[in-house]
């Protein structure tokens, strides 16, 4: 309860600070650079969720613990949500700065493949009727997809000539405004907190659903 209240307050502070405290970065039209505070954490969560889902899948296959499958499924669903958010916000930014919503920039290519993998994962889950089998297949697919993804880094064309602004807005580079850096890190923290909270909620829902079905057939 108290954690939720703190998270809400923190998130609100970050949103206000993103628009009022931090200054718009140089070299971007208008206020567009403020997307940094929302888009980047979303993309970070999408990737983190994908990683968590894969690790939980490995754990499930090793231990056959239902809880691990709940984590894998919940992380995948939330990852998909944040992936869509990152795609949409990124696309709006692309329109504002590069002139088109979609131009198959390397970043756009990789996020689309991530979306496709998530989509395939859900399609697989919904198509296998047997519960136990569904979990094993989903876990195996998740691991397989994770093994195939790194190849994209090498093959996606023009990876070095992406229009995606990272050198100008990289938090690690000394060029970043300290105010921007503060809000950005705060936002990263807020989004991660939000994700963890949502993840735990989703796992609890799945656990309760699992109980109900099991009790019915007892």
């Amino acid at each position: 309860m108290i954690v939720r209240a703190l998270l809400t307050t923190w998130m609100a502070v970050i949103i206000i600070a993103a628009f009022l405290y931090a200054e718009a970065a140089q070299g971007f039209p208008g206020e567009t650079s403020r997307i940094l505070f929302f888009h980047v954490p979303q993309a970070w969560i999408a990737t983190l969720a994908f990683l968590i889902s894969m690790i939980a899948s490995v754990l499930y296959l090793a231990k056959r613990n239902v809880k691990a499958d709940y984590i894998a499924q919940s992380a995948a669903e939330l990852g998909f949500l944040f992936c869509v958010l990152a795609t949409v916000t990124g696309s709006i930014f692309a329109k504002a700065t590069w002139g088109s919503f979609w131009n198959w920039d390397p970043r756009q290519t990789s996020i689309v493949i991530l979306l496709m993998i998530y989509g395939a994962y859900f399609a697989l889950r919904s198509a296998v009727p047997d519960t136990e089998r569904k979990r094993v297949f989903a876990a195996a697919y998740s691991i397989l997809a994770f093994a195939a993804v790194p190849f994209l880094v090498f093959v996606v064309p023009r990876i070095t000539s992406s229009l995606h602004p990272e050198n100008t807005m990289n938090p690690a580079s000394p060029g970043m405004d300290p105010k921007t850096l503060k809000v950005f890190l705060g936002s990263l923290f807020a989004y991660t907190g939000l994700f963890v909270w949502m993840l735990r909620l989703k796992i609890r829902i799945l656990t309760l659903e699992g109980w109900r079905v099991r009790d019915l057939f007892r």
Binding site: L61, A123, A147
Partner: protein
């Protein structure tokens, strides 16, 4: 044949290895495929139909000469990938439909089943490539400057297609809506390979040099990763 103490005859069995189990499954699948030709016909008809559609609507001279190496590579790999997606699931689906899955589980080790099915899919895809690729080159007047590199790319890309999809075929044979699901699950895994193969075929046609054979190496690396991952994961999927 051996005589045992009580006079009964038993057959001497050789210890079976992964390899001869895999080969046995491969030969059995080939024999049953040769009788029905179901999978080969399905894939080949799909491939030929697409090839004719492409050739008819584009022809050999519609595309500018400078654009040809890239666009032809794209068209060729779209035909090959989607033909593979249309039929490679057959290798496991037929076991499920014929009810022979359980017998197969008893008679061979999972890794051997995987290797046998992979060999079968490779044979199938090889046969399709043998027909489609020369026809494509003839119909589209495809100029290739490095035939050796081109052939290596077609072969390694074909192996990649089979390596990436065989375990998916095992999964979807137990699911509903198999055909659509097979493509949906396989495509994200095949995309890196497809992009590599397209770049490789473009390189073979455009004549910018093939030093180091980067795309072929990439496809081989993809095959190795996918086969090793599949060998780890397949027993879990198979025994479920």
């Amino acid at each position: 044949m051996h005589q045992t103490k009580n006079g009964r005859q038993t057959t001497q069995t050789r210890p079976s290895t992964y390899l001869n189990e895999a080969v046995a499954i491969w030969l059995r699948d080939l024999r049953s495929e040769f009788r029905t030709r179901y999978a080969l016909n399905a894939i080949l008809m799909f491939a030929v139909t697409t090839l004719i559609a492409v050739s008819f609507s584009i022809g050999s001279f519609r595309i500018e000469e400078a654009e040809r190496p890239f666009l032809y590579a794209v068209l060729l790999w779209i035909i090959l990938t989607f033909s593979a997606l249309s039929g490679l699931a057959r290798s496991f689906v037929k076991e499920e439909e014929a009810g022979t899955m359980d017998i197969l589980k008893l008679s061979a080790r999972p890794q051997a089943v995987f290797l046998g099915k992979l060999l079968f899919n490779l044979t199938l895809l090889g046969a399709v490539e043998l027909i489609i690729v020369p026809s494509f080159i003839l119909l589209m007047a495809y100029q290739i400057n490095f035939p050796g590199f081109f052939i290596a790319m077609i072969i390694s890309g074909g192996i990649g297609l089979a390596a990436g999809t065989t375990i998916i075929a095992a999964m979807i044979s137990r699911a509903s809506a198999r055909g659509a699901l097979f493509s949906a699950l396989s495509f994200p895994l095949l995309l890196p390979l497809m992009i590599t193969a397209i770049k490789g075929c473009e390189r073979a046609a455009v004549g910018i040099g093939t030093a180091g054979w980067p795309e072929v190496k990439m496809a081989v690396a993809y095959v190795i990763v996918m086969v090793i991952m599949s060998l780890f994961l397949f027993p879990l999927v198979w025994e479920e």
